[in-house]
Symmetry: C6
Amino acid sequence: MNDDYTSTGIAGADKILGEKGIPRGHSILVAGGPGSGKTTFAIQFLYRGAAEYNEPGIYISLDEDPEDVKKNMSKFGWDLSKLEQEKKLAFINVSPVRVTSSEKAGLIQLGMKEFKLIKLLEAIREGIEEVRARRVVIDPITIFTLQYPDEVERIYAMRDLIADFRKTGCTNLLISELRGTGLDREHQFEEYLAQGVILLRTVVKDDRLTRIFQVEKMRGLEVDNQPRPYNITSNGIEVYPTLTVFK
Amino acid sequence: MNDDYTSTGIAGADKILGEKGIPRGHSILVAGGPGSGKTTFAIQFLYRGAAEYNEPGIYISLDEDPEDVKKNMSKFGWDLSKLEQEKKLAFINVSPVRVTSSEKAGLIQLGMKEFKLIKLLEAIREGIEEVRARRVVIDPITIFTLQYPDEVERIYAMRDLIADFRKTGCTNLLISELRGTGLDREHQFEEYLAQGVILLRTVVKDDRLTRIFQVEKMRGLEVDNQPRPYNITSNGIEVYPTLTVFK
Amino acid sequence: MNDDYTSTGIAGADKILGEKGIPRGHSILVAGGPGSGKTTFAIQFLYRGAAEYNEPGIYISLDEDPEDVKKNMSKFGWDLSKLEQEKKLAFINVSPVRVTSSEKAGLIQLGMKEFKLIKLLEAIREGIEEVRARRVVIDPITIFTLQYPDEVERIYAMRDLIADFRKTGCTNLLISELRGTGLDREHQFEEYLAQGVILLRTVVKDDRLTRIFQVEKMRGLEVDNQPRPYNITSNGIEVYPTLTVFK
Amino acid sequence: MNDDYTSTGIAGADKILGEKGIPRGHSILVAGGPGSGKTTFAIQFLYRGAAEYNEPGIYISLDEDPEDVKKNMSKFGWDLSKLEQEKKLAFINVSPVRVTSSEKAGLIQLGMKEFKLIKLLEAIREGIEEVRARRVVIDPITIFTLQYPDEVERIYAMRDLIADFRKTGCTNLLISELRGTGLDREHQFEEYLAQGVILLRTVVKDDRLTRIFQVEKMRGLEVDNQPRPYNITSNGIEVYPTLTVFK
Amino acid sequence: MNDDYTSTGIAGADKILGEKGIPRGHSILVAGGPGSGKTTFAIQFLYRGAAEYNEPGIYISLDEDPEDVKKNMSKFGWDLSKLEQEKKLAFINVSPVRVTSSEKAGLIQLGMKEFKLIKLLEAIREGIEEVRARRVVIDPITIFTLQYPDEVERIYAMRDLIADFRKTGCTNLLISELRGTGLDREHQFEEYLAQGVILLRTVVKDDRLTRIFQVEKMRGLEVDNQPRPYNITSNGIEVYPTLTVFK
Amino acid sequence: MNDDYTSTGIAGADKILGEKGIPRGHSILVAGGPGSGKTTFAIQFLYRGAAEYNEPGIYISLDEDPEDVKKNMSKFGWDLSKLEQEKKLAFINVSPVRVTSSEKAGLIQLGMKEFKLIKLLEAIREGIEEVRARRVVIDPITIFTLQYPDEVERIYAMRDLIADFRKTGCTNLLISELRGTGLDREHQFEEYLAQGVILLRTVVKDDRLTRIFQVEKMRGLEVDNQPRPYNITSNGIEVYPTLTVFK
């Protein structure tokens, strides 16, 4: 594993990535359906980075309360709080402003208009400084892109975000929600902008639903683009790079 | 069954949920088509909670008159009125304002504009206080979300609702109507926001329609995500966690 | 057949409805494609109700002229006029205002804006008083719902209509036009609001088109939800509750 | 063939229509794709009516120049001009106003706004008086309905048109263009409004395209609703009511 | 080949057209996907007309520069320039106004608003006079129809264009771009307006892509409507009227 | 390889292009999904042109930073920097204006409105002069076309761009992002405007994903339009022109 690449921390995934991992500083789109383990993938990437590769990281939540995320991840036996105290991990909540319930209805719209690229960029910058981060996760990016109704604006906002990450040098995962399913789904524009795309999907095989991991794209790297089975085990996500799987 | 989880009260379902049940305080989306037994599932969850686990509950109706719901459920031999008198169950109707027929046409629009998040939140708060609820059901959530034509607003409203439930500590079911059918349907945004997603669907198997129960997602829990057959019996919904089923 | 239920009057259908029939006072959506026999089903329900179960009924037409409906039904040998004279049946035309052709073009729009829930509700009330109706049919409900372009308004109008029927205690059929075909069609919102849903469809089986009758939903009742073949015979609609049928 | 019905004039079609033909005064939608023989079907219906059943008819064109229609039909050896001179047939062109090319661009929009229900109704009335018509064809109805962008307006205009035809007592064919193909196409609203629906489609059978004729609907009549093969021969359209055909 | 018809000039195609060819003066829609040989078909039709049947023709380009078209066609060994000098062929460019690049951005919109039916009609008229044309090709018609956003306007513009061609007596091909693919594509409105429709498509047969030629429609003519294989050879397009082909 | 054509530089591709390559001066659309190797194809075309055929080229980036592109391509052992210094290659970034993050949010919209055809045309002209380019690549063209919301404007802008390239005499590749997948996808309008179309797709064959290269269209050239397998090897893209492949 030379210096231009960094391990995913996902068992079996690096093997699929040409034994190398992810090119440092790249923005990788991790897209999957509900329950596909997107957040588990993200936290595992940050945890192993901080615990094993001395790469501090930040988790930027646009949806769930980071405290809940940590609680949900406790079952994997990753001591996230310890790493947080050691300033090797930071959990940042940039989801829209919270207000007391009674005022909510009115403020929802306001909160929406306020939250834009700049707020996210500041959170990223502060987070990176705080722990000298080498890894960043935004979970999910979907809520961010949805705020640009015009497709071109959306593409530009996404491009600028990725360009900024490039400057920071941080390897980052952009967690994305798949709407369409099946192999004939339409491609989403983010798949073209990100430097790498990893898909977490489910197919029917031998009368069972099987989870498949696929590296659809990884710029600057020769990868195995065949879908491979994966599971969510008590140790986190495990990919089986030598097994074949197809509906 | 430790203290972090609570039983669904659905025969066979807890086994699929890692023998544990639903994480306390989580918002679970229960999505199904017409006649799939969504309301039966919801009432069974509340009834068993109140009758067997000493967890009072409230049923918040956004559509059907609670009196009708109780009548329809009578066939299962659940004594809901008794539990209601014992203040272990409450049935709350927050469906849009009713007026005398002759005035309706005009007021429909008004009723619509009026009904928003805040009204629902107050109903929930009062209901929880009234019976010291540990369980809440909103049936169906669809009518609530439909009122936000803008997708981002809709997502925010749903997120705020779920965040509020989190604060109450009540385990809650959000009953949702599936529009698309088949395994290749598009995912609905609620599936990403809820902490758990249970699907009640119908597939063709061996020349018959078969009902399938599937835990698509359950944060913080290792679950069996394979679809399993279920039936609506004289005792309510019964899931068969060891049988396999596929079209 | 106890007092809480009433016979459909359709040969074979009651057997599918748990030997009981339709819960009294419920609104049942009868949805089918062109030529599926929706109106035959509706008139047969009213005729048998009036002739055999002493349950007077009213047929509310939103499209075809009731005189034509009666003429088309004559082939089944049901003496509708006699029951009409005996005040056991009433045929009411609430289709939009008619004007002389020469003025039409202009008035179409006006007619549209005029016709709303209230007019329909008054027609129902008068009709019920006139024959002391226990059964009501609206054929088709589609033209009514189409008039609410906003989906939420449409849902509310439908809910109010069903709530009003509930008060009258009349068992009623809402005849609905299926747009999509095939088993993977999208569900229509009416299917969620109605207390029961009966589908009349056509599938290809053994190189022939076969008509299938399916009770998709029936609140408060245990039913056979398998599709069953049916025919339009010289005696009206006949369902074969013991035969299986699938494409 | 009793007096309530009239022959289609299409070889084999009456057999499918319960040996009876079309109920007099009904509006029949004849829907097919390009090249399916819709216009041939329409002219054959009018020609045989005038030549063999002493039922004069009028052909109302909303698209092609009637002179061209007559020319195209000449290959079938039907002497349309003779019947025209005998006042047993009339060909009426109600397509939008023609102007000299140089002015066209500007007038297209105007022509569009002008042409509405009333103009069509007057043309029908005059045509009926001119030849004492018992049969009417509108070819195609599509251009008429397209002019009502609002779906409800469109439905009302179509309903009024059919109601007017009812008053004239003329049996009439409304020629309609199928957009979708395949057996799973969406139903078009006209299929619900017309009293009868005949489909002219094409399916793949035994590695060939085969033309299929299907009576989807015929109010007041027991019909064979199975699809049957048909051809366009030198004598016009021929349906084979005893052959089965399916993809 | 009698005087009412004219040869397509495409080897094998006339045989499919009842040994007759295309009815003189008709507008034929030639629709195909990218690379299907639409333009080759059009030029071959004009070339053979001018060279073998003494029918001068004009090629009206709405997209590609006629010079490029001629260059691309040179591989077929058709001496188009010679026929051009002999005033037997004319190549007319009516694509939107060209301006120097630096001004383009601004003028694009303007060019669009300017270009309408009338301009096309004048080009046709002048072209016809110039070479006493008997044949006309518009390639592609798509760019023309796209300019009418309203569907009814689009239909009227197309009808007027076809009506004008009718007056000129010129047999003409309207080259159209197929968007949808497969046998279940939606029909395009032009297919109903044109007097003939020829489809150039591609299907998978025996693990290869095969080009298929199909006469979907040809008014006034009995044709073979089965799809037949075709190739683009060094002599132009060749259709094989006796071979069958199907996926 | 005569003077009217130029090699693609892609092993095996010229053989599919009639042993000739691409007609000089043509605009070729290269369309593929994420990770299909579109950019590799583009750079390989430029590299071989400059290194082996003495045809300098320019790479115009509308998305990724050219420095990143060069870095990603380094794995193929193409010495791009050397050619750059020798003025045989130029890498130009015309992606929307960059500004400091803090100002971004506001400027995105502005940047969008600014960037239009003219800016792209100037970049092309300067680039061509700088290296006396014979080859040009725009990667991706998608971002350019997306900026014209009106379909007709989009078509015109694309036509003008291609017409300008024609004048420069430069052979050029327009890299395009495929949204739809599968063989039944809708055709994109660019496929009709470009003089050649090459598709890079993925199909399932023998339980594996297989990459397929297909020349859908190449004006003025007889090509093999069958899909052929290709791989991304350590030498770049390799096409296997004699192997067949199909799902």
